[in-house]
Symmetry: C3
Subunit: 353 residues, 3 copies
């Protein structure tokens, strides 16, 4: 089944170059083409995760999952589309913790009565997200309270906070991969066996790399097609950025996190979903702010719109409650998905400007 | 003592029809008359709870306790008094978690050094409340940020969110009564014996039904008397709705939750207090929004005033901290009551318009 | 080394009286002079803590640490400098939980893989801070929503909330020192021995008192020098109040909390850091509001600026996550310090008015 969907990879590419005005067709073809690639990426990642322990495996997965997003965002940055970049960042943070984690907890919870995950790792990641939310709230509050009398302050603040976030992210990697790698290792790591025959290490890495590159290429085609398609459908750019791009950009994480949850490997699932949000918030976003100093027509700041900041704040709030006790069940999945749905409705009803 | 207070039931009804202008007298008579009825309701509920386990017993209690509020709110809806309905909804949510749970924890904690309750159930309910708070924040934020350029969007958003909340509430019932009924059963369920001779099942149901109907009737009399009384006393409608109506409307839950806490049945106490808030927020409120499409002069939305939304948000914030670790002591009761008192002071000082 | 720094005590005092215009010199001298005094205060407190158990010891420490701040604030109140008082209160709350606790967790975590502390005590104190944050949010919200149509309401609200906070603080002392003193005692209390030869009780008290008085005197000199110094350096009063005064005013807590953390006495460390914030928020702040009714040119209210309220709210939010599970590691320290740094950057960039 999945293999057949790979046929849409050349179709999407062909349409992009032969019929560049067929936005809707390109959009659908690229979206379908991404799914099997995401599945392959998931399998390759799981092969590597089996070798390296849950924590590192999850981190690997999040890195490769977000590589595509980073490439897309850099392209948008070059075009000066800061609003699209910011909407995609927020959509990725919110989508990973509400949609991906919610779907994983629901799927896993329908097969297992109660699933356990490493409580300390869950808490550390939830605190990281709180830190990220604070880093978005402060520039917005600064702009609202003193931005008018000191416009230059906001730019300095954005760059300074970006450097702080990158330093904290480096500390987080040091913590989870080195000084406290043991406590980050999942509770279920030893209980599971690989679901299929182990691949040679070279094959796993090759598949992972190839799938990542192909997703990246298709994602750019997809993003290019989304805006005109959305315009025809009467949707706002912010809704498109936050929800449509994010769902597709996170398809890889999505597939792997659900597969892991179904196999009762909640630690892998959690570190993919929350870890991916953490990486976007504390690594991709500040990196883009700094990159914008040399790339693109003008620098991008960390000043996100009030609606975007609120979405992150509310998503982080409920994630802290859900991920804090090391237990998962299907109701938690429903709760996360409900928040995602409510946010989606509100953004969907933003009128097209 | 309580039996004697039943004499105020006919007095309140007689005053309502014979001296309809004696608002203060009607108010006091109805308020006193409700107390013994609430006590009977509590006893009947406990009889049923002894038979059916803590979780279901608490749910039964919350259902019967909120039936009165639903009837009152529908009457106010028919009269087009949306502000009163919204104030009562918020007052009920806030009152149950701050006043009822606070008083129960304080009373229970003065008799017992430390009380335990089912941590998972407490967390699941606290997360439900967070979801409810988010469902109130989003429409308010939508109205503030894009309401002016798209007024129709707010109405669509209210109806959509109401449907999401009802679906989540249905999922919550499925979870707590069926798929995870075991984990919702209280830690103290087997340690306690009934406090009095068991009643026949028929008697318990009959008392419960009769008390519910009588409370409902008296509550309507009471509500009719409150506004003119409040006007004479110089209080704002919002204070009356949030605090006075809520305290009386939740008298039944109040009495039962404290009685349960004193008997060291914190699971019952918690499921009454928080469960009642959850039910109002995720069942009564969205039901009223949908009902207003056919009942009353014009539809009601989920757009609550900023002060009301903030009250819910702060109440939910502190409840999450207090209910998250499965332990209760008298200081937690004092903390919840202090927040209630502070909110009460702020609403009390809102000038009468 | 520390002993030699005591030479700056007479230097600071001499400069204050002989060269009162040398603000920068006075500032530096007083700041250096405070450090050895803080260290002596820490030693004396630890001597007393060894005798009286962690909880009481921490409380003792917080009391003596905040005595200096109370004296400074009263002096500022007499001069009618309400903005400085409020900035110092917020700086003290935020600084103790972010800077002091953050530095203690980082320092302790670099020597110990994982440190444990009493989870119940941590949660009770975090809930106290949430209550304090709510007590600051409500007057600000009241002023924003109905302040214009009822200006007198804000004053009544400030005095009422102050009385509620003092009552809750009294309840907290009753709880932690009497009814639940056992559960507040640290998990590590019996495992540690005094780090040095025990002092006679009289000596410990004498050193503690002398150091407190000297710190108080020097702090006043320091505060007097800060504003003109800051003006020369182009900093805003609010940044000076929230960050510079707070760091120096909390130097005593800072030194003791880090020393305790290094010795793996996290309960003492936590009760100093969070306990000090709790005391400032629930005891010092309301006391100052009530004192301002008789001291100073005009009464002070609890209406803090939006930026200050937000700082407290965000600090409390992340503290609740960090202190909720009874475990500490160096990453948590980094996370708290990062929030402090981000807040500091934002306040630093407030333009001088």
């Amino acid at each position: 089944m999945l293999k057949w969907m790979l046929v849409f990879v050349p179709i999407a590419i062909a349409l992009e170059y032969l019929a560049p005005q067929s936005h809707l067709l390109i959009f659908v073809a690229a979206a379908i083409a991404i799914l099997p690639l995401a599945a392959w990426l998931g399998r390759a990642t799981e092969q590597l995760a089996d070798r390296s322990g849950e924590g590192v495996g999850g981190l690997l997965n999040a890195t490769f999952g977000n590589a595509a997003e980073l490439i897309i965002a850099l392209a948008a940055l070059r075009a000066g589309l800061h609003d699209v970049v910011k909407a995609t960042i927020v959509g990725s943070i919110v989508g990973n913790i509400l949609l991906v984690l919610g779907a994983a907890m629901l799927a896993g919870g329908m097969r297992h009565q109660e699933q356990r995950f490493n409580e300390s790792a869950g808490r550390a990641q939830a605190t990281m997200l709180t830190l990220a939310a604070i880093a978005l709230v402060i520039p917005a509050a600064y702009a609202a309270l003193v931005g008018e009398i000191n416009p230059g302050g906001g730019k300095t603040l954005s760059i300074s906070i970006s450097l702080v976030l990158l330093a904290v992210y480096a500390a987080f990697l040091l913590f989870s991969l080195w000084t406290h790698a043991d406590s980050f290792r999942g509770v279920d790591a030893t209980e599971n066996v690989a679901h299929s025959d182990p691949w040679p290490l070279g094959q796993a890495i090759a598949v992972l790399a190839a799938a990542t590159v192909a997703i990246a290429w298709l994602s750019e085609i997809l993003v290019g097609a989304i805006e005109p398609t959305a315009h025809e459908l009467g949707l706002s750019n912010i809704f498109v950025g936050v929800f449509i791009v994010a769902i597709l950009g996170n398809a890889a994480e999505h597939a792997t996190a659900i597969t892991a949850a179904l196999k009762n490997r909640m630690d892998l699932s959690l570190s993919i979903a929350i870890g991916s949000s953490v990486q976007v918030a504390l690594f991709v976003a500040p990196l883009l702010v700094l990159a914008s100093l040399v790339v693109g027509p003008h620098p991008m700041d960390l000043l996100f719109g009030k609606g975007l900041v609120l979405a992150v704040l509310l998503a982080v709030l409920i994630t802290g409650q859900v991920a804090g006790d090391g237990r998962s069940n299907w109701l938690k999945g429903v709760q996360l998905l409900a928040v995602y749905l409510i946010l989606g409705l509100a953004f969907f009803l933003i009128p097209q400007v």
